[in-house]
């Protein structure tokens, strides 16, 4: 949908400020009541979901004026969707979609963020969000003897993702995932060097055209592999294939699973048996892309029914963050011997973003780290020794931030702990 299609939503904003806070019924104290990193950092109302909606509404009416403050407002936003969830507790209106549309409009109007522009150009050129720096995308799988989905048909395709593939510190996730899937008897393959970026981060950066082009490339490869199911341990990729691609009619019948969902099933079925006592206190960070943004897309087209109410024909069902993937990672953690899970104050659909979404790690690393620091502080409040997540982009930012600040909190991906807990992984 184009920005104009959200005029009604943008004009619905009643300036209540709910978008700045977690759903108010969940506020349990003075701290950790904020949910929007953008306004929490920068304070002006135009750094909130509602403030941006107002800008959009006026911009549609009077034209967009891309001043430095305006660009700061639209790019210093992780597009994490927390404002959308909080608003929709009370309202029937879209928040995140118009915010995304505002950014896309800016890019269309020649106002791409220069750093994001570079990242997107690199993606187009190399098929990666992360600079390859001479490495090959499939290097992590060397000597693992995994099925090459580029050369033979597979039912299950393990999509690794750019960061996990190229980042030396994150490659262990891919290796652990592959080992666990193999141990559980899942017949899967990988695209290896041929794998290409899902494109989702480009979409968030406002580059819809480039995203669509990339998405088509990616889907073509997946189709050629014959895969009926795509499994990924990257939440961003999960959201891309499960939601974004569905939204743009690219997904087809592909089943998309995040590794946390698959691992939960495998553990329940007894195909994976965590046995080793990890003796670890953890807290879990819900990545935006697996959580509230991972809620399945709802295809809907309709028109507003003229009259007094903001209702549609056919009735519109809103995505309110209810249907994200929240329980499977928790189920997995609860199944690991010796692991005690203590929840943070802001979790599930109202989790505080790690800071890694929306291109902010590239457009404003300081803001990304600030956001991560807030999350780390919140994790420390639980007393947990480790912060676990299911999103490599979050984990990297969180770990780098902890290291930069000299902290002791450990950061794990879920698959690492599962690998440690299963016989095959050991400790």
């Amino acid at each position: 949908m184009a920005l104009e299609d959200y005029a009604g939503d943008m004009n619905m904003c009643c300036r209540c400020s709910a978008c700045k806070f977690i759903p108010l019924q969940m506020v349990s104290g003075f701290t950790h009541a904020n949910v929007c990193p953008s306004i929490s950092r920068y304070n002006f109302h135009f750094f909130s979901g509602g403030g941006r909606l107002n800008l959009g509404a006026v911009g549609l009416e009077k034209g967009f004026n891309y001043t430095p403050w305006y660009l700061s407002s639209i790019y210093n936003c992780q597009l994490c969707g927390a404002c959308d969830v909080s608003c929709k507790y009370g309202m029937d209106m879209e928040v995140l979609l118009p915010l995304q549309a505002l950014r896309i409009q800016a890019v269309k109007d020649g106002q791409a963020h220069p750093e994001l522009q570079k990242v997107v150009e690199r993606m187009t050129a190399t098929g990666s969000m992360v600079p390859p720096e001479g490495a090959k995308r499939g290097d992590w799988a060397k000597s693992l003897g995994l099925k090459d989905a580029g050369k033979q048909k597979v039912d299950v395709l393990y999509h690794v993702g750019c960061l996990t593939s190229y980042d030396k510190g994150m490659q262990k996730l891919a290796q652990a995932t592959a080992q666990l899937l193999g141990a559980a008897g899942v017949d899967f393959g990988i695209l290896g060097d041929a794998e290409t970026c899902c494109g989702a981060r480009a979409y968030e950066m406002g580059h819809e055209k480039e995203f669509l082009a990339q998405a088509k490339k990616s889907m073509e490869l997946i189709k050629q592999s014959g895969a009926k199911t795509l499994v990924t341990s990257c939440a961003t990729c999960y959201q891309a294939y499960a939601v974004l691609y569905d939204r743009f009619g690219l997904k087809g019948d592909l089943e998309v699973l995040h590794t946390s969902q698959l691992l939960a099933d495998l553990i329940e079925q007894g195909k994976l048996q965590p046995k080793n006592d990890l003796g670890l206190s953890v807290t879990y960070h819900d990545p935006c892309h697996l959580g509230r943004l991972g809620e399945p897309w709802i295809h809907w087209e309709g028109t507003k029914i003229p009259g007094d109410r903001f209702i549609f024909d056919p009735p519109k069902t809103y995505r309110r963050g209810t249907g994200g993937v929240y329980e499977p990672p928790r189920d997995v953690l609860r199944s690991l011997p010796g692991v005690t899970l203590t929840e943070m104050d802001r979790i599930k659909e109202y989790a505080w973003c790690s800071g890694s979404c929306g291109g902010v790690t590239d457009s404003n690393p300081e803001f990304a780290q600030w956001t991560a620091t807030e999350r780390i502080e919140e994790a420390l409040c639980t007393g947990a020794e480790a912060l676990v997540s299911t999103e490599p982009w979050s984990e990297k930012l969180l770990a780098d931030t902890i290291a930069a600040n000299g902290g002791a909190l450990k950061v794990y991906d879920l698959v690492e702990l599962v690998a440690q807990a299963t016989e095959e992984g050991g400790r």
Partner: protein
């Protein structure tokens, strides 16, 4: 409009460049209003300095917290108090808490719950400032309006710091009055531009005992949270009555018996909005329950400090309902609905669903005053809504109004609103006319005069009918604001 370079610089010297914005493009985000700039002070001293600069440069200013509603004048300096968000103290021994303006009611309440205490949250919602004057579902037992304010820290329109009450002579916040007459006579915030001149930078607010849990333990995901367990010392019901008179009779008896934690007189449309998470769900539920209610009614929450206390209160409630013919709405007795209302009444978050979600906007006529009197007016105002409903201009709520007894029925609040689409110019016009007519009728028939409207709507007819208060208020403003930095839209000052 962008500020003059020197003026911008002067403000930036105080708060830092990152805390001032005078980019005209960005002003629209605030209230679609062309402010001169937005400036964000971090503490009282900075507020004073900003206000003094406004005086020096003859700029009008207006402070804001979370800012759900108000009247905003182009060209003014918006003082956004977002950075002043600390709870200064919670004093359990003296039943008061001191907060800065951007502490939300939800945050304060959450901290208080841990201590077995509570604050009265305004009906506009728990995202609002903890310092707001106003009314909410807990008025019955937790006071209301300006009567929950104690000591106040106030920056006057000239930038002077006045600490009203005990804080002016000591380090204590427990009392807002004296020495001598109370300056709390001025300390009111309401719909601007006629809000109290100046900026409140801290307020002590009265606290109340909270018999409920130290936190609500919820399950589910937004927007469908549910209590894991209803507190065993609390009960919620919705009672409806054959007539408004019977409802008021019941309300008064409940007030006098002092058994209710909450008496919250929302109508069936508001109940159905409150507990549903979409307009369609609300319409369906409203259809269902409007066939089940006898007429107007209210939510009641009973809370016992002990089993014996709880049993007694329930017994009295039953007796009064039997006497007045109050019938319990079965739908609300179902835990899945009752517990939503329990939470929404004690941490109000339903106002948006009631007022904004249906059409996109609403216009309301609120009155805080003598309940039995104002409700008679409200009946007529509700009847006057019916033709607009018939024409499809406003959301069909059955012509409902709402309200409740305050301070165990000593005082009252009555309000009526029309929900409609802001994009519908015909609806806008019709609702405006309805509000004007009903407001005028309130004055003509001697029910009340609108106390919450901007000063500009006070005309020659209303002011003299209400002790010429507007003339006194102008004099007060003139005395406190010699340089005219408080915006008063469309109103001429008395002195040249």
């Amino acid at each position: 409009m962008a500020l003059d370079k020197d003026i911008h610089s002067a403000f930036a010297d105080v708060v830092g460049e990152e805390n001032i914005c005078d980019d005209p493009t960005m002003m629209a985000s605030y209230f679609k209003t062309d402010f001169a700039c937005v400036v964000m002070p971090k503490d009282t001293a900075q507020v004073q300095t900003i206000v003094r600069l406004c005086n020096k440069y003859e700029l009008q200013f207006r402070p804001i917290c979370t800012g759900w509603t108000g009247v905003f004048i182009p060209g003014t300096v918006m003082i956004d108090l977002r950075r002043m968000d600390k709870i200064i103290e919670i004093d359990e021994k003296n039943m008061c808490a001191v907060c800065e303006p951007y502490v939300t009611s939800a945050q304060l309440q959450a901290e208080l719950f841990k201590r077995g205490l509570n604050t009265n949250i305004k009906g506009s919602g728990a995202q609002g400032s903890a310092l707001l004057r106003g009314h909410g579902p807990m008025d019955q037992s937790c006071g209301a309006d300006d009567r929950n304010h104690l000591a106040v820290e106030w920056v006057t329109p000239e930038g002077e710091l006045v600490q009203i009450g005990s804080i002016g002579s000591s380090d204590e916040w427990f009392c807002g009055d004296g020495p001598g007459p109370s300056l709390r006579c001025l300390v009111q915030s309401t719909v601007p531009p006629s809000c109290t001149p100046g900026v409140f930078t801290k307020i002590a607010t009265k606290l109340y005992h909270w018999p409920g849990p130290e936190r609500y333990h919820l399950k589910g995901n937004s927007p469908n949270y549910s209590l894991i367990e209803m507190p065993d010392n609390m009960m919620l019901r919705y009672y409806s009555f054959d007539s408004v008179e019977k409802m008021i009779e019941a309300e008064i008896k409940l007030g006098e018996s002092e058994v209710c934690y909450i008496v919250y007189g929302i109508n069936a449309a508001m109940v159905s909005a409150n507990v549903t998470s979409s307009n369609e769900e609300q319409m369906a539920l409203f259809q269902q329950i409007s066939g089940q209610v006898k007429g107007n009614g209210f939510v009641v929450i009973i809370a016992g400090n002990s089993q014996a206390d709880f049993a007694y209160k329930k017994k009295v409630l039953e007796a009064i309902m039997a006497e007045t013919g109050g019938e319990s709405l079965k739908a609300v007795e179902r835990p899945e609905i009752g517990e939503i209302l329990m939470r929404q009444c004690t941490r109000p978050t339903g106002a948006i669903r009631e007022t904004m979600r249906p059409g996109g906007t609403f216009k309301s006529i609120p009155n805080m005053g003598q309940r039995d009197l104002t409700v008679r007016w409200a009946i007529g105002a509700g009847e006057a809504k019916l033709p607009l409903i018939e024409k499809g201009l406003i959301v069909d709520d059955g012509g409902g109004f709402f309200g409740w007894g305050v301070e165990h029925g000593h005082l009252g609040k009555t309000e009526i609103f029309c929900a409609f689409s802001p994009m519908d110019s015909e609806a806008n016009k019709a609702v405006g006319e309805w509000a004007t007519e009903q407001g005028a009728r309130a004055v003509e028939e001697k029910y009340f005069a609108l106390t919450m409207s901007p000063l500009e709507t006070i005309d020659e007819r209303t002011g003299p009918a209400v002790s010429n208060y507007h003339l006194w208020w102008y004099k007060v403003l003139d005395a406190l604001d010699p340089n005219g930095v408080i915006p008063l839209k469309g109103v001429s000052k008395l002195t040249p």
